[in-house]
Symmetry: C2
Subunit: 501 residues, 2 copies
């Protein structure tokens, strides 16, 4: 449909759409021009592709970052890269800011619109295009839910290794935009390491189709790296070639107790050398976390309380008759050496799931400990325990009205320690979520991250929520280089501006 | 030493240095100014750090790309990032072009100077700064030879997985600049996947110190990715945090014969699923390669000739008592299924080395087959065999003076097929190296790479030698984006210009 087929543009069109417009879009000259561009885009992409004003669904008004929803001016839902390109060109012409949206499960505000923005949702770009078993690759649309990717790989006799709690609703494109991590990074790497090719649309509408399937390809700069982990600020990912692995044929797991962080480090080194690449998870829980999960959440534990650290060790093998006895023998040797103070080995898949229930119980913390704030940081592995001890003491020492001295902010610790990734949950009892002293928690937690040379974001990204703290982990020169890249690719500053940097 | 301590600048200084200057540097105003800047740099960094004119050693005049040497104006050899920064600032002020140099083993011209350039060599920035066993990382200077890195990891009870033939002389910084591959990519990834942090100096002299040790770190854009694989065109890598792995405790290897490419693919899938992450190499040799190596180079082979493909399969384990029998059983099952037509299993380390001798014999091809041209391409794994067949026929069909029709250019095929990486060697008998019809070989070989959707460089980079063919693997939009990045980081175009793009 050509532009001339459209209804009269500008104020007349705004009047035609009046029932759906409540934001005063057409009240200004700029607003009228913007509406004109959105209507032309609707004419080009179809009625279902552009929803304006009140027609914007609730889901496109927020991500999962616990902020108030904001209704964008419009939501655009293209069907392919050409549609994304048309949308970005229209928004550039109208000088409208754009936020890309996938599964909207992000925790840092990266996919949340702001007032007057357009949401560019990939919700219609869903599905697996191809599984290539010779190359061990899968080509998918960026809006495909992670779990659908995992299932398609499984159906082809292969394995897609990225896994995280939001698997049912997060989109693979969003996983790449945040360079998601999850439970099996120690073996398979972050999302970045599971990507071979990308199709991306740049802020000016240029489509970069780089659907490489080859493990080795050094023909010029590796452009895909720019778009992975940059939270939709440099381009919009539309299609992805994922790297698949051989399907694990058996899973072994043990719940171990050790005395202290030195015991954790010794166990980690023993796992790296004794299990080698079979090691697929190494999850550490501090006694404060263990107490909340076993006593307050009442999750059954196969190991008694009273130890310094609890570790869930998981390995994936290719032959149960060989790998399960090897895992058992490896553990027994560590018991004999005295490193392990207690240990339970899973005898069934349901045992494995039972061990993971202890680690996954953090998803239920709102029911268990009430309003709290969750943090995701990383630290050099050797320093994690000192960080946690100092952080816990500093949070308790915060003076909070109505709380006894030295019991200001409580906190508990756990995480993917083999990947240097610590999670912590902090709260002050008796306060609602808005009343929680988040700014003070941030200052203590990120202040100590800076002191210990860690990162304010291990796997959740920066978005808007952690932008203030980026300088605690990155130097001025690094942030200046990020800005140079942003300006080079998005000189008008229209694609997800104010996110990350 | 301040600028005023220097000898008189410009023409007077040039006269003072006359014995070392033969390039007419001081004959022009620009030359005099350039010399002035180089002398100031020498005053700042020390006598040994700046060698000018004839004092430039032979080694800094070329890389390993079989082109004629070019003496640069000067070689600068800083001792640290601050020295590199001073050198780049001086060159920017003098508008001198700069080529970064490491071990000078590159095959595509990336480290070769051009007339009037300054070579910035990292040869004095050598050594291991730290091995952190808790984090499993090593921090090294970029000029450190790869083999020294491997040995330092080994001495710490850990393993650095990158390995390639030039290990004794190539520098780890150069390995990163070309995103080197090598023999064990199928298990550990390219150089890129073995890097956690970098220190880099930008063309304007800005030092970016980003020596991250954490496996998970998503605090803003992952800037290091820009500099890995961009062949010294965007910045100069000065220090590196490498990721180490657990040391393999045993190595199993088998030499296998299968009927054809379908047999190769079936064996690859069986290795992926049956050996899982233990699979550490999957090297395929075509019968033409096998014939040259066993009959002309007289390398002993444990498998008889007459098969369609030969495959060297290697696995690294953690427990020989478990992993060696498993490997043997896995092979026996494939023999029983009829997939393997013949196979020999290494019974000792010397057997393993003997198998690898067949694959490594390509390093001796100048003695065995005389003057030839080596190629490094990648292709979707499923298409590799069709590519090789068509390429061989097309090369033979080239008409070469003095050669019978249909026997124009001979070629043989081998490579890291599990990584989609094919090597091939082409020659026309009786011709010297300069007489070899390289331009026609390039046209056939890269023309078919384009047809099959492959890459003109799997692991050697682009440099100057493959720049002409970059468009066969990358679209105009991709190359334009590479130029955007180059302009953003190096607006004056002084750092290794004309390389890659």
């Amino acid at each position: 449909m050509s532009r001339s087929d459209l209804p009269a543009a500008g104020a007349a069109a705004a009047s035609h759409l009046a029932p759906t417009l409540t934001s005063g879009l057409a009240a200004t000259d700029g607003g009228a021009a913007a509406l004109d561009h959105l209507l032309a885009l609707r004419a080009a992409l179809g009625e279902a592709a552009v929803l304006i004003g009140d027609a914007v669904p609730e889901r496109n008004r927020n991500d999962n970052s616990s902020q108030l929803p904001v209704r964008p001016l419009a939501v655009v839902r293209p069907a392919d890269a050409q549609g994304v390109s048309a949308a970005l060109r229209a928004c550039a012409a109208a000088r409208l800011k754009v936020v890309p949206q996938g599964g909207l499960t992000g925790l840092c505000g990266g996919a949340r619109p702001e007032d007057g923005w357009v949401a560019l949702s990939l919700e219609r770009m869903v599905g697996v295009q191809e599984v290539d078993t010779a190359s061990s690759t899968m080509t998918v649309w960026a809006g495909t839910p992670l779990e659908a990717v995992q299932r398609a790989a499984d159906a082809a006799g292969l394995y897609f290794a990225l896994d995280l709690g939001a698997r049912g609703s997060c989109a693979i494109g969003g996983n790449l935009s945040t360079n998601a991590g999850g439970n099996r990074v120690i073996r398979y790497g972050m999302a970045r390491e599971l990507v071979l090719g990308l199709e991306v649309v740049l802020p000016d509408g240029t489509v970069i189709t780089s659907l490489n399937k080859m493990l080795k390809n050094n023909a010029g700069f590796d452009l895909k790296q720019l778009f992975i982990g940059s939270e939709g600020t440099l381009g919009v990912i539309t299609r992805i070639v994922l790297r698949l692995h051989g399907k694990p044929r058996c899973t072994m797991a043990a719940l171990c107790a050790v005395d202290d962080h030195d015991g954790v480090l010794a166990l980690l080194n023993a796992a790296r050398s004794g299990l080698g690449p079979l090691l697929s998870a190494f999850e550490v829980m501090w006694p404060d976390y263990w107490q909340v999960v076993t006593e307050r959440a009442k999750v059954q534990a196969a190991v008694a309380p009273g130890h310094g650290r609890y570790v869930l060790v998981e390995a994936q093998g290719t032959d149960e008759s060989v790998d399960a006895p090897r895992f058992q023998a490896w553990l027994e040797a560590l018991m004999e050496q005295g490193l392990l103070k207690d240990a339970a080995v899973a005898q069934s898949l349901s045992d494995v799931q039972g061990f993971w229930a202890l680690r996954d119980a953090c998803a239920e913390f709102f029911q268990v400990i009430g309003p709290h704030i969750s943090y995701d940081v990383s630290l050099p592995i050797g320093a994690i325990s000192d960080y946690a001890r100092e952080c816990k003491a500093a949070l308790l020492a915060e003076g909070i009205a109505g709380r006894p001295a030295g019991a200001g902010i409580e906190s508990i610790y756990y995480g993917h320690i083999g990947d240097s990734n610590l999670h912590l949950v902090a709260w002050s009892d008796g306060l609602s979520l808005p009343e929680q002293p988040k700014a003070r928690m941030d200052a203590v937690i990120y202040g100590l991250v800076q002191k210990y040379g860690g990162s304010v974001s291990a796997e959740h990204g920066i978005g808007t929520q952690k932008r203030k703290w980026l300088g605690h982990s990155r130097s001025e020169a690094e942030i200046a280089l990020m800005r140079t890249l942003k300006s080079a690719l998005d000189p008008q500053g229209l694609l997800n501006p104010g996110k990350v940097i």
